[in-house]
């Protein structure tokens, strides 16, 4: 009984432990906003932002120093948890830590999951090559291999370039290994954030930056989990402002980058006028990120059409709505198009274009509902989304119409609450609601006048960029005249004339099934690589292991010594160390380049072969010694007796060990991801870096492994039977 009880408790603990980190809306953090001690994750090796100084335990760097000063000013304490960048980001995303400061660039994807501070550092992506390399520009990378660090903005940028410049990529989890890969010549270049690269080179790394052109210029921010730790974010922003005001910020940056930070030239503009346009991409139907990473939506389509007709080019700078307005207001970006409502307050800092859209709050009901008038809502429950303007509006009219209120954290759940009939209506921004309905939400908008109407316009910093504003206004006028404007609107919001319901896959489906189907090719290719590595490793390691095992039972003491030494070394070395040694150390020693696949295969063969060799010898030893005696007594020499009598019987004994080793080999291929071989685990890491859906992605990966292992076991058993054992 007692045993059962303990077993039950253990299982329960495991389950609870698994669930808590993934339940987004649990109330464990009720007091979180009032606390003054925070857990901050960071990347353990990301100089000059986060790193451990020689002989010091403490982490230093621009990030660390900023955090320290801000904590001092804002009077909070914190503990730093250094880990890999991916882990650091995931840990915050699933609520296990409060915030992350890790030279983390502000991207639209990240803003879906995190709340972000005001940008604290401006950065961009550069590429670096070996000192003696002749590579000067992106064009020179064609057909060559480029090293990337998993999950970084620099890697994402490189992937964009990849289509155009056609280079191969290989992934690493660690900057140093990536740099080394370039120094060793396995890769010709690596992509890295400019300050990081600059700092590394300044401190002696044997690489150079051939072209100081900044790609994908962006900003670093401090991130907390979306909807949580707003106090911490506030403190950070307030503290950062004070540091910038009192000059301490500059001191910190100077400490690490010296004067070099000024050596970066601005992105060159082409012949056409070129503008940086800030936007918020998390505002459908105005800004939507499509599955291919491109941005679409009403704003995007209008901007694109106008730029073409008015002859200018632009770089889109997607960021949070707040950052977007701020970066335009302070001149970092040239313009903003982001469903920005014209208000008197904003007129003080912006010059607005002519308005291009009229929006307001509306309420929507179930398609079958009999509610026609807002008065019908009396005593009914309406659904609201926390913290939105439409919710504020609904609250303001609650008393007047006498309805009850229910809150949700995301739009989809809110809509569905109405669809299933728990609530009778929901309040939402009109275009957002129309877009959702067009994309299949089963709601309808009763006839009504939108409330609190506002007008959207394009904006530039007050007194600047008059030419851009003028071009926008002329373009907009032409667009409206040509009817193109109405087409764009209809495309996203639908109209009576519009029967085309689907707007393409504008929404990325992040459900398990959605992840699986939309990334099928990635998973398949990852699985393919895992299988390829596994099959070759199993075959070669088994042969090698047999040879080793035979050496282990040799009559010759010298041969047995070789066996013992090989087993001692390769069974003793951690697989990961062996992989690094072979991939990075060996070319250094021999000057011969080796592919990640070859290095991975060699690693697995040496390691698994050693284990195989040990159990092969064990299997031979386990055969009754009388068998050998009987053969020897007949005058049969040792080696022949070994082959004819001992080995056939020993092999039978070791079949289960072989099957076991096959499964271990399959699992061990995941470790090869560390040297950049994109097998199944690495595929998962890449996907998590993009989608941030760690639970779902690793769940899928785990399931695939289990399926493959099941098949492998079944296959082994089948062969075992076929061999007649």
């Amino acid at each position: 009984m007692r045993k059962k009880y303990y077993f039950f408790i253990t299982i329960l603990t495991i389950i609870v432990g698994l669930i808590i980190p993934f339940s987004n809306n649990t109330n464990f953090g009720v007091a979180a906003d009032e606390k003054s001690h925070y857990t901050i994750t960071t990347d353990s090796t990301y100089p000059p932002f986060d790193f451990q100084k020689e002989k010091q335990k403490e982490y230093v760097g621009i990030d660390m120093d900023l955090l320290k000063e801000i904590a001092k000013i804002e009077n909070f304490t914190y503990s730093v948890k250094p880990m890999s960048f991916n882990m650091a980001a995931q840990t915050v995303a699933n609520g296990q830590a409060d915030g992350i400061i890790a030279g983390m660039a502000i991207t639209p994807e990240r803003e879906k999951i995190y709340d972000v501070s005001t940008p604290y550092f401006k950065t961009g992506v550069v590429f670096a090559v070996a000192k003696n390399s002749k590579i000067k520009s992106y064009e020179d990378l064609k057909g060559k291999k480029v090293a990337l660090k998993t999950g970084t903005a620099a890697a994402n940028y490189a992937l964009e370039l990849q289509k155009k410049y056609n280079f191969d990529v290989t992934y690493f989890n660690d900057s140093n290994i990536m740099y080394n890969d370039v120094i060793e010549g396995n890769s010709v270049a690596c992509f890295e954030d400019q300050p990081v690269m600059q700092y590394a080179i300044q401190t002696g790394l044997k690489l150079k930056i051939p072209d100081q052109k900044l790609g994908n210029a962006g900003s670093y921010g401090f991130f907390v989990k979306k909807g949580q730790n707003s106090q911490l974010l506030k403190k950070f922003n307030r503290g950062l402002k004070k540091l910038q005001d009192n000059g301490k910020y500059d001191q910190i940056v100077d400490r690490y980058l010296g004067s070099a930070k000024n050596s970066v030239t601005k992105e060159k503009k082409g012949n056409l006028p070129h503008y940086n346009i800030a936007t918020d991409v998390t505002f459908p139907p105005f800004e939507i990120q499509a599955k291919n990473g491109k941005y679409t939506g009403i704003d995007m389509d209008i901007l694109e059409s106008i730029s073409k007709s008015q002859g200018f080019t632009y770089t889109l700078k997607p960021m949070s709505f707040n950052s977007a307005t701020q970066t335009v207001a302070n001149g970092q970006n040239d313009g903003i198009i982001s469903g920005l409502t014209v208000t008197d307050e904003r007129r003080k800092v912006f010059d607005f274009s002519n308005t291009y859209f009229r929006s307001g709050f509306i309420w929507a009901v179930n398609k079958d509902a009999k509610i026609k008038n807002i008065k019908d809502l009396k005593n009914q429950t309406v659904a609201l989304k926390t913290g939105t303007g439409s919710a504020d509006y609904a609250k303001s009219i609650q008393k007047k119409y006498g309805f009850k209120i229910k809150y949700f954290n995301d739009s989809n759940t809110m809509y569905n609450d109405v669809v299933v009939g728990n609530s009778v209506a929901c309040f939402e921004d009109e275009p957002v609601m129309r877009y959702a309905i067009k994309n299949g939400i089963n709601l309808t908008i009763p006839k009504q006048t939108p409330a609190n109407t506002g007008e959207y316009a394009f904006a530039v910093q007050k007194g600047k960029n008059a030419a851009l504003l003028k071009a926008f206004n002329i373009g907009l006028k032409e667009l409206k005249k040509s009817g193109k404007y109405d087409q764009i609107k209809a495309k996203y919001l639908g109209s009576k004339a519009d029967t085309n319901k689907e707007v393409g896959n504008t929404k990325e489906d992040n459900s398990v099934w959605g992840l699986l189907s939309s990334n099928r090719e990635m998973f398949l290719s990852g699985l393919g690589n895992t299988m390829l590595l596994t099959v070759f490793a199993i075959l070669i390691a088994s042969v090698w292991g047999l040879i080793l095992g035979i050496m282990g039972v040799s009559e010759n003491r010298f041969v047995r010594g070789i066996y013992s030494t090989i087993i001692y070394i390769f069974r003793g070395l951690p697989l990961l160390v062996l992989a690094f040694f072979i991939y990075i150390g060996l070319p250094n020693l021999t000057g011969v380049k080796i592919s990640t696949f070859a290095a991975g295969l060699l690693t697995l063969v040496l390691n698994e072969g050693a284990y195989t060799g040990a159990f092969v010898k064990g299997g031979f030893d386990a055969v009754d010694p009388g068998q050998m005696e009987a053969a020897r007594a007949l005058g049969v020499p040792y080696n022949q007796a070994m082959r004819g009598i001992i080995m056939p019987q020993g092999l039978k004994i070791m079949i289960p060990s072989f099957i076991n080793q096959f499964i271990i080999t399959l699992k061990d291929t995941s470790i090869i991801s560390a040297i950049g071989f994109v097998e199944l685990t690495q595929t998962g890491q890449l996907l998590v870096a993009r989608t941030q859906k760690g639970f779902a992605v690793y769940g899928i990966v785990a399931l695939i492994y289990l399926i493959v292992i099941t098949v492998l076991t079944w296959l082994s058993k089948f062969i075992e039977k076929r061999l007649g054992f």
């Binding site: 009754d624 009388g626 068998q627 005696e629 009987a630 053969a631 020897r632 007594a633 007949l634 005058g635 049969v636 020499p637 022949q640 004819g644 009598i645 056939p648 019987q649 039978k652």
Partner: protein
């Protein structure tokens, strides 16, 4: 006796396992066609001495000469000598991965001493003599203990040895199986095979043995005809041992 050809000549043989000295100066001569039975309490060294004859145990000191070849000399090709010495083990040690007839033909075929046809033909004749003609293709795991030991004898005879060593051949058998195995051995003795047998079957020893050798604590205490050893042993310890066995 001494007009016969000397087959085995052991002189002053010593053997230790670690600190445990098992043979302390054993000397023994065996002549052609002679059947020598070795008796004595367990741990007295008789099995070790038997196994030293075909060098399954290497000796520390002394010499063993089989057919004028010094088997204890490291330069000797021991495999050649062993082909002429058949051995039967207490636990049969049949090859588990081979069937009945393959157990017999394994050695001559592996050593290329016979063509497959010759080997099979001879094996079949031997199977008839040990009474296993109908079990040619059986896996050895399906044989009874007595059948296993008779097969082991046939296997040892296939190579045409001129000396046979038996190491307690009936000790692992159920009592009703013992008779068949002893019969096969008795027939062998009648055909004039030179045999050295370690056994506790005193009745059999009395019947078949030309000489009985009594081992105790690593030395031979008495070496006589079965009549003398069993009826009026000279050695006190031999007397005690034989009384114990017979009255057991």
């Amino acid at each position: 006796m001494n007009d016969k050809v000397l087959k085995i000549h052991a002189e002053n043989v010593y053997k230790s396992f670690g600190k445990n000295e098992v043979l302390k100066g054993v000397s023994l001569d065996v002549h052609e066609n002679e059947v020598v039975v070795m008796i004595g309490p367990s741990g007295s060294g008789k099995s070790t001495f038997l196994r030293a004859i075909n060098q399954l145990e290497k000796i520390d000191k002394g010499s063993i000469i089989v057919d004028n070849v010094d088997v204890s000399d490291p330069k000797t090709n021991i495999n050649k000598v062993r082909q002429r010495i058949g051995m039967v083990f207490q636990n049969f040690n049949l090859f588990n991965n081979k069937n009945v007839i393959d157990n017999i033909t394994y050695a001559p075929l592996t050593l290329k001493k016979m063509t497959p046809d010759e080997a099979v033909e001879k094996a079949r004749r031997l199977l008839v003599t040990v009474g296993l003609a109908d079990r040619e293709k059986s896996p050895v795991s399906q044989l009874s203990g007595g059948q296993k030991q008779r097969l082991a004898i046939a296997r040892a005879l296939e190579m045409g040895p001129d000396v046979m060593l038996f190491d307690e051949p009936t000790s692992a058998l159920d009592p009703e199986m013992v008779g068949d195995v002893l019969n096969v051995m008795r027939n062998l003795a009648k055909q004039g095979m030179t045999m050295i047998i370690v056994t506790h079957e005193m009745g059999f020893a009395r019947q078949v043995a030309d000489r009985v050798v009594f081992f105790d604590q690593g030395v031979i205490l008495e070496d006589d005809s079965p009549e003398i050893i069993f009826n009026q042993p000279k050695n006190v310890r031999a007397k005690e041992f034989i009384n114990k066995i017979i009255n057991a």
